[in-house]
């Protein structure tokens, strides 16, 4: 029955039936894009991981409500966005608290009982570069919905219909958000725009 659906939906239906291996597969596949989106939204890589963990736990807890009519990635990023918005609200109320601190009160999980080694790939070294810093800064300065729309475009190549599903707005409004966000980026990053490269490639 599950073979009629796209692979992620089929996996999610297995999770609904209690299959932990299917859940593990989904976590492996989506951890990077989810952490990327959260990290760019919160501008905090450490807390992005904790929040991403909450996103996947929420996915598992809500598995019984999952309907195969929704694409899994749309559902997943909707949960991620909602948790990000909650975190932003929480931060505005309690600026000094971290997610970790608020979790420790209610959670007996040994948070770092496993090996905790970060992967520092060569591309991460460029994270320190001025260009990347400027791009990240310009992105972070965008309104939340514009930034999320642009990141979902980049991260998962979600269709515009799916992005509008995550943002809870119409298709035309979604395209307008992306357009306006890119306009702002273009203005802010004007000194770094290297035009003409495409023309060179074509010739």
């Amino acid at each position: 029955m599950a073979t009629e659906f796209e692979p992620d939906t089929a996996l999610m239906l297995c999770v609904k039936g209690g299959d932990m291996h299917a859940f593990e597969e989904l976590v492996e596949k989506y951890k990077q894009p989810v952490i990327n989106v959260i990290s760019r939204t919160l501008r905090d890589e450490t807390e992005a991981e904790d929040l991403a963990q909450n996103v996947f736990v929420q996915v598992f807890k809500s598995a019984h409500r999952y309907q195969a009519t929704a694409k899994f990635s749309t559902w997943l990023f909707t949960i991620a966005r909602n948790l990000c918005l909650n975190e932003i609200r929480r931060r505005s109320r309690h600026p000094a608290d971290s997610i970790e601190a608020s979790q420790i009160e209610n959670d007996d999980r040994p948070a770092r009982q496993y090996e905790d080694v970060k992967n520092f790939s060569p591309t991460e070294q460029t994270l320190q570069s001025e260009l990347e810093h400027k791009v990240a800064e310009a992105l972070a300065d965008l309104p939340e919905n514009q930034r999320t729309a642009i990141l979902l475009c980049r991260e998962e190549e979600l269709s515009y219909e799916e992005i509008s599903g995550v943002l809870g707005c119409s298709l035309s409004a979604t395209k307008s958000l992306i357009h306006r966000g890119r306009e702002t980026l273009r203005e802010k990053l004007k000194p770094y725009l290297k035009t003409g490269a495409w023309k060179e490639n074509q010739s």
């Binding site: 990327n36 736990v57 992306i178």
Partner: protein, 156 residues
């Protein structure tokens, strides 16, 4: 390709790389259209800048941590799987109706008790004149029918 198709292609380029076919169609359209070419180059430049963003670092034990957290939640999750979520509204409505019924029965009984108490208090408050009761014993005896001795004897 017309202007609308160019716009659609620009929107597609925000999400993905164009195919060879799309690029060649675009090259034909852009030839001699300086404004469109400038716009396209700026779009590409923004795409390139966005692609500069590196992935956020992820702990190697991230998946293990998620699974550990989930296993702690598994018991209630299993319980709720046996408890279909579409029952909750029905159970809520039935509960509310039963609650309302019990409440109205309780109120009815309380009002009945209050009425009886009120009546008893009214009777006890009413003063019966003493002369009404002075011949009570005599009248009571008079109202007794005489004993039919013959009938008693026949029955014996």
């Amino acid at each position: 390709m017309n202007d609308l198709e160019f716009k659609q292609l620009v929107e597609e380029s925000w999400r993905r790389s164009l195919t060879m076919e799309e690029e060649s169609t675009l090259a034909v359209y852009l030839a001699g259209r300086d404004a469109a070419l400038f716009q396209w180059e700026e779009e590409m430049a923004v795409n390139r800048l966005l692609s500069q963003l590196a992935d956020a670092p992820v702990s190697t034990n991230f998946t293990a941590r998620v699974l550990h957290a989930v296993q702690k939640q598994e018991v209630p999750a299993t319980f709720f799987r046996w408890f279909p979520s579409n029952w909750l509204p029905r159970i809520g409505i039935i509960g509310a109706l039963v609650g309302a019924a019990l409440l109205s029965i309780g109120q009815y009984r309380a009002s009945q008790r209050a009425q009886v108490a009120h009546d008893i208090a009214a009777v006890s408050r009413s003063v019966v004149p003493q002369e009404w009761l002075q011949d009570f014993e005599a009248i009571n005896r008079l109202s007794q029918p005489p004993v039919d001795e013959k009938l008693l004897a026949a029955l014996r």
